[in-house]
Amino acid sequence: MSVLVDDDTRVVVQGITGGEGKFHAEQMMEYGTNVVAGAVPGKGGQEAAGVPVYDTVHEAVEEENADTSVIFVPPAFAGDAIFESLDSGLDLAVAITEGIPTQDMARVNKRLSETDTRLIGPNCPGLITPGEAKLGILPGNIFAEGNVGLVSRSGTLTYQVVDSLTNRGIGQTTAIGIGGDPIIGTDFVDALELFENDPDTDAIVMCGEIGGEDEEEAAAYIDEHVDTPVAGFIAGRTAPPGKRMGHAGAIVSGSGTGTAESKINALNDAGVPVGDTPEEVADHIEEFLG
């Protein structure tokens, strides 16, 4: 079992004729993902990575029954590409693109609340159900089938923690990289809810980082609604306040949240042990699973 993605997922790759789009479409297919089409304006009628390319996502939905998109579109056009996914009625859109202007994402976020499509990302590695399908750029070989759900704001940190788990023989139901941008689609709380409701997920890893308040909100949610044991990791204990954490941002909420300390405290208070190192996270998961 898994959440969000399995071997029935029918994927359209937006931007499949670009370097990254083509390479990762092939990698996804090699892993077993059911990539059924590409969508690139002006390239309709061509073929890329062995699948037909359409000018619009709508066509890919009509012709190939695509239900999920993976977006490898350059940042200037990626906001529009996400809008197109939402407008095409897909179940799931996964935006890999890094560097989408924040105001574009604010508009996407507004539209998202009016549709039934779920967005993962942007600026994320995607998600994977080991042994079934991967959507995005995650290196498939480090994952293993199993019973741990993982959700992370950081791509490479996901790999690091998964590596620690897999090396001990602990596999994953699904691993979701939600992205570290200020405005993202699916957040920790959404992912935790999915894992909590998945009968095959017996433990959850949640990897956060400094900035924002998503981890504090997740901690409150875990306290109220999650029975599955959760272990956490927070990156950035020693980092100075990031340059992007601008001045006015702190005024919105007052300061005192968004630091590693406040996140770790909030998680501990919700009964979530937080590892000092990725290996310690794996130790906690090992204990949970007995």
């Binding site: 990254e20 990762h24 940042p75 200037a76 890094e98 560097g99 989408i100 202007p101 924040t102 105001q103 574009d104 994402m105 604010a106 508009r107 976020n109 507004k110 590695p125 750029i137 995650l138 290196p139 480090i142 992370s152 704001r153 950081s154 791509g155 490479t156 940190l157 790999y159 690091q160 590596d163 570290g180 200020p182 405005i183 990897c207 980082e209 400094i210 924002g212 308040e213 990791f233 990156a235 950035g236 204990r237 020693t238 980092a239 100075p240 990031g242 992007r244 601008g246 001045h247 006015a248 941002g249 005024i251 919105v252 909420s253 007052g254 300061s255 005192g256 000092d276 190192t277 990725p278």
Partner: protein
């Protein structure tokens, strides 16, 4: 990207927000000439990108030529929290009765822009936000419609701004929002927005942070970036190489891919008793040249005694990383500082075959790599 005060003021003034008369100067005579043209009293304000300039002696109010010379002399060339002051803004001193705060930013929790107004301007507004959050009125804006005038009025009245200036302050807030939106602002703030005895409002300071990811569609502001850059030499170099880089106090240089993983590497250096010298994220999909540039960066920091290279490839490929490390190191007869490399993920095996192991120390796990780098840095310290 943060604009200098004089740049932000120009942007605000061009949009119709009242600002005091001002001129930029870079030497003492220039300051005096500007002050005479504007008319005493004037404020002499250091143009560097740090907060708390006033308290640090970077802003002085002067009444006559002698004071202007004295202030220019002490401010120009001074070191303000690590930044050398090369330019000052000479500005009309506004006689005010009240100081307000107005600002626009993105509320990441809500995923929406938020306009903020407070009658407690002229002070550290973050402290106000913490001690008395209700002293700041907040109005969220639907990003697909923009701010309605009624919302600006509502924020202004909610904040308790006096009726005599409420309309003008609302207009400033509307203009500020429109600027923030059209210029892809991250933050746009005026603190203080001064109210004069004649009930005029005037922006005595101006802060504008631009979303770096949107600079491609803000060519005029991107040009200002050249001017806005400055400060730490290494950080300038990082800008040229386009790295996310932060200089720190320690002596273990840290290079990795992805902010979360690099932060984790910093945390582990600390965990194992070392001190990070920097945060350097090469980003996703780095090619050999970029890897080589990263090593060049970290080697240029005299504080660095050892370097740990931590790559977990997804979109980044281990073979490219290994080539970059070889390129950077093969140009030295003696490698200036010991380099520990940990490669994992995409193409790590190819990378290990390519990597010249005579030049670096290879470790398989993150923990081992960090411990080794800390050990090397300690050994150098002991010598």
């Amino acid at each position: 990207m943060k604009l200098h005060e004089y740049q932000a003021k120009q942007v605000f003034a061009d949009a119709g927000i009242p600002t005091p008369a001002s001129q930029l100067a870079s030497d003492v005579d220039g300051v005096v000439t500007a002050a005479e043209e504007i008319g005493y009293p004037v404020a002499v304000k250091a143009q560097v990108q740090v907060g708390g300039r006033g308290k640090a002696g970077g802003i002085k109010l002067v009444e006559d030529e002698d004071e202007a010379r004295e202030a220019a002399d002490s401010i120009l060339g001074m070191d303000l929290k690590g930044y050398r002051v090369d330019r000052v803004l000479v500005e009309e001193a506004v006689d005010f009765t009240n100081e307000l705060y107005v600002g626009i930013t993105m509320d990441r929790g809500e995923g929406k822009p938020v306009a903020m107004v407070s009658t407690r301007g002229g002070v550290n507004i973050e402290e106000v936000a913490e001690e008395d959050p209700d002293a700041i009125a907040r109005e969220h804006v639907d990003p697909s419609f923009g701010m309605h005038p009624y919302q600006a009025r509502k924020a202004v009245y909610d904040a308790g701004v006096g009726r005599s200036v409420a309309r003008d302050v609302s207009n400033v807030l509307m203009t500020l929002y429109e600027l923030w939106e059209s210029r892809d602002g991250a933050d746009a703030e005026i603190n203080p927005l001064m109210v004069t005895s004649d009930d005029e409002v005037i922006a005595a300071d101006a802060v504008m942070n631009i979303d770096e990811d949107a600079l491609f569609r803000q060519p005029e502001l991107a040009e200002m970036e050249e001017e806005a850059a400055g400060g730490d030499e290494l950080e300038q170099k990082a800008d040229e190489y386009d790295f996310d880089y932060v200089r720190l106090e320690g002596n273990v240089g840290i290079i990795g891919n992805g902010a979360g993983l690099v932060m984790t590497t910093l945390d582990l250096v600390d965990h194992y008793g070392g001190e990070p010298a920097n945060f350097l994220d090469v980003g996703g999909g780095a090619k050999a040249q970029r890897i080589s540039n990263a090593l060049d960066m970290v080697f240029s920091d005299d504080n660095v005694d050892s370097v740990v290279f931590n790559i977990f490839g997804g979109i980044t490929r281990g073979d490219e990383v290994a080539r970059g490390i070889n390129e950077a190191l093969e140009q030295f007869d003696d490698i200036p500082k010991p380099v520990v490399v940990r490669l994992a993920g995409t193409n790590w095996e190819e990378g290990m075959e390519i990597l010249n192991e005579d030049l670096v120390t290879v470790e398989q796990t993150l923990e081992d790599a960090v411990q080794r780098a800390v050990e090397y840095a300690g050994e150098v310290n002991d010598q």
